[in-house]
């Protein structure tokens, strides 16, 4: 039910320390936007600016077309779920959930209905009269979410809501959140996380933050398949995308790059004639690499230094290739025998990216 529009939003601390600048973002009703980025890049700061907990130093924030830069949090129609849950320790679960409604002077019937509904959705009915300290981590997390649901906000804000849970519970709760989102198709959500799986599975669109700004906005698959720059390419996916230096030798609908390590890469990226001779980096994801027979064209040839058999896949760590000493391959199945051998690897042309000056030629 709500749209957000950020125009040139910026944040400076103490007038000198720039944390964020030139943030432009349009969020449509019903989207689930995920903010990712390295630690300290300003994800929480941006979220807290949207919440109104942090002053906006520059630019404009609109919710449903209304500029809310100076509106206090409570009047922005948002609800927030904190990493630490931030439950009021001296109030029962019920009181925690009704606190905001009572402050807003809602009628008793309305409050009861809202609590009953939220408790049913989150299966919190048996715990309503307990204090938070008598709940498990996962239950606390659900209370924190329930507390935001009862307020029926225009926008939900989540700041790493699952990072305090253990691995199994995190998966379960992630799925619950996905279902919750499905049951509320009209509500807009913004979600901060460190966890790529969370980002990829939950997001309608992902916003990658880096270097005080937005590195790329797009659906999870766009980010995975067509990263806009080397940063996003390496940030999304694990292990990170391999980057190999080379020079464009053939242009056209497909581009051929002669690599410094000796191989050649063909990418399904259109280039102009003038691009010939351009120094570029070729990007290939480890999982897109496959071994080839002698004689066939290859992207690189390398000696396998270490293998890590993870069961369904095997990771191959190669010796230095060109000037890159961290090239990794990921092959399905178990291949421990490759250790110490020299192998040639290649990839399909539509899986190969080309970056010049850090930017993808695809988006030129």
């Amino acid at each position: 039910m709500a749209t957000l529009k950020l125009t040139d939003v910026a944040k400076t601390y103490g007038g000198t320390i720039d944390v964020l600048k030139n943030i432009n973002l349009d969020i449509k009703t019903g989207e689930l936007i995920v903010f990712v980025g390295p630690s300290g890049c300003g994800k929480s700061t941006l979220l807290r600016m949207i919440a109104g907990l942090e002053k906006i130093s520059g630019g404009e924030l609109q919710i449903d077309g209304r500029v809310v830069n100076d509106i206090p949090p409570a009047q922005r129609g948002i609800a927030m779920v904190f990493q630490s849950y931030a439950l009021y320790p001296h109030m029962t679960v019920r009181d925690n959930m009704t606190f905001a409604l009572k402050l807003a002077k809602k009628s008793k019937a309305e409050i009861d209905a809202a609590v009953a509904k939220a408790a049913r959705i989150l299966q919190l009915e048996p715990y309503l009269d307990r204090l938070p300290k008598a709940l498990s981590g996962g239950q606390r997390q659900r209370v924190a979410i329930g507390r935001s649901i009862v307020r029926d906000p225009k926008v939900y804000l989540f700041d790493e809501p699952l990072s305090n849970l253990d691995a199994a519970l995190r998966v379960a709760t992630r799925i619950e959140i996905a279902q919750l989102k499905e049951s509320m198709p009209d509500s807009t959500m913004i979600y901060v996380t460190h966890d790529q799986v969370e980002a990829m599975t939950l997001a309608s669109r992902i916003v990658v933050l880096a270097n005080k700004g937005i590195a790329q906005v797009g659906t999870p698959l766009e980010l995975y398949e067509r990263p806009q720059n080397e940063f996003v390419a390496q940030f999304i996916g694990s292990p990170a995308m391999n980057l190999l230096a080379g020079e464009i030798v053939e242009t056209g609908a497909q581009t051929t790059v002669k690599l410094a390590g000796g191989g050649t890469a063909v990418a399904a990226v259109p280039t102009r004639d003038s691009d010939r001779g351009l120094q570029v980096n070729v990007g290939v994801r480890p999982e897109d690499l496959s071994a080839v027979e002698d004689g066939a064209p290859y992207i690189f040839e390398g000696t396998v230094n270490i293998t890590e058999a993870l069961g369904e896949v095997t990771l191959l760590y190669f010796d230095r290739i060109g000037d890159n000493d961290a090239v990794i391959g990921k092959l399905p199945g178990i291949h421990q025998g490759l250790r110490g051998q020299t192998v040639r690897m290649t990839a399909q042309s539509d899986k190969v990216q080309i970056f010049h000056n850090g930017q993808s030629l695809h988006y030129r």
């Binding site: 830069n69 100076d70 509106i71």
Partner: protein, 411 residues
């Protein structure tokens, strides 16, 4: 009105008034002065946020300013004026007059004695009690008992110790425990052991410890290489070394005295009327009260020492004494400083004990009581304020140090 009723009314008015102030001033701010609605809502809300902290702080600032900050300046002014001359400005005349008063110097000398003995003894006993009680099963009970005097008023403690120090005429049953014990001594071998040899041993031990401290203080300054501390640090260290050196001397003299002095065996003593000694008997009261405080804080600090550092030392082959002095002490040194300064402040303000037990007679005067004497008995506000300023002056280094630390911590 009945005072109890008055008290009740005051609580209601005071508490209700405070709450009403905070509540209505906030409402006034949000609804009337800077309403959070209408065309200027955003700007108004921001303005209200700027004003609100001051609403919350106003009563406290007012009270602090009026009851603590203003008096400091008013006292400075009073100490420079003469009430009998219609509050005329008289420069430093009051200070000069005070300087000519032998009672003032007596009070200052006694205060210095208090300042050295009480914090040192309380901290030492506290450390000892903390060390010991942390090792036994009924330690928390023992702690409670040693901590208990904290709850007792100085006046109550004065009565308690007056009973301890009570003296009855020779030949009757003594009811003060100190005299009862004293009369057990008759100059025989046990008396010599307890009254001469034991004090000498203790005094020599303290002298050795102090001499060690002199060395600790002075060593970095005297070292010939470049790692010598800065000028201010050097000055502080040298003066600390000098003070401790004087203490060494005092201990040695005391030891000599314990060997050669003659004791009036068999005669009940009026402990509080024997000059110099009586100051120590008064100090015992404060030490008795403050040891519990030192113990509680130091015990927490000792328990805060990571167990691993001690275990590592044990594996390295350190004996218990070495563990205490080279592993534990350095880790709680900052806490010791805190305890020491806190007790120092208490000592500087000590009034009730002296007022109730001797009222400064028999050469037991201290600054706080001297000041009270001048202010309310002699009605001499000038000299009284001058004495108050001396107390303030003595507190100032601690004040500066505390503020410095607090600011450092907030960064």
């Amino acid at each position: 009105m009945n005072p109890a009723l008055l008290g009740l009314v005051t609580i209601v008015i005071g508490v209700g008034g405070c709450l009403a102030y905070f509540y209505f001033s906030n409402i006034l701010l949000d609804k009337v002065i800077f309403p959070g609605t209408g065309p200027n809502a955003g700007r108004n809300i921001n303005r209200a946020e700027k004003v609100r902290p001051w609403l919350f702080l106003a009563p406290a600032i007012l009270a602090l300013g009026l009851y603590l900050a203003y008096p400091v300046f008013a006292t400075i002014w009073l100490s420079l004026t003469d009430r009998s001359q219609g509050n005329a400005f008289v420069g430093l005349a009051n200070y000069r007059q005070m300087g000519l008063d032998p009672k003032f110097w007596e009070a200052l000398r006694n205060n210095m004695l208090w300042l050295i003995v009480v914090p040192a003894a309380s901290t030492a006993f506290g450390l000892l009690a903390a060390q010991l009680t942390d090792r036994i099963r009924w330690g928390s009970f023992a702690k409670s008992i040693i901590f208990m005097p904290m709850a007792i008023s100085f006046v109550g403690a004065a009565v308690i110790f007056k009973l301890v120090y009570d003296a009855r005429p020779e030949g009757t049953n003594q009811i003060g425990i100190l005299n009862a014990i004293w009369l057990q001594f008759d100059g025989a071998i046990w008396s010599v052991v307890i009254l001469r040899i034991l004090p000498v041993v203790i005094l020599l031990a303290i002298a050795t410890l102090c001499a060690f401290l002199v060395w600790v203080f002075a060593r970095p300054v005297l070292r010939p290489d470049q790692s010598r501390p800065g000028l201010i640090n050097s000055i502080v260290r040298i003066s600390a070394a000098v003070v401790t050196a004087v203490l060494v001397l005092a201990c040695l003299l005391g030891a000599l005295n314990a060997v050669t002095g003659t004791y009036p065996y068999g005669v009940p003593q009026q402990w509080l009327t024997i000059p110099v000694w009586n100051s120590f008997f008064l100090m015992i009261v404060l030490i008795w009260i403050q040891t519990g405080f030192a113990m509680v804080i130091l015990s927490a600090a000792l328990r805060g020492i990571p167990e691993e550092t001690i275990e590592a030392a044990i594996i390295d082959g350190a004996n218990p004494l070495q563990i205490f002095f080279s592993i534990k002490m350095p880790q709680i040194s900052s806490t010791i400083v805190v305890v020491w300064t806190t007790i120092t402040i208490v000592v500087l303000k000590v009034f009730d004990i002296v007022y109730a037990m001797t009222n400064g007679q028999w050469q037991t005067q201290v600054l706080a009581n001297y000041m009270y004497d001048k202010l309310f008995r002699a009605n001499d506000w000038g000299v009284g304020s001058a004495a108050a300023m001396v107390i303030m002056l003595l507190v100032t280094p601690i004040l500066v140090w505390n503020v410095y630390n607090a600011r450092k911590e907030m960064r």
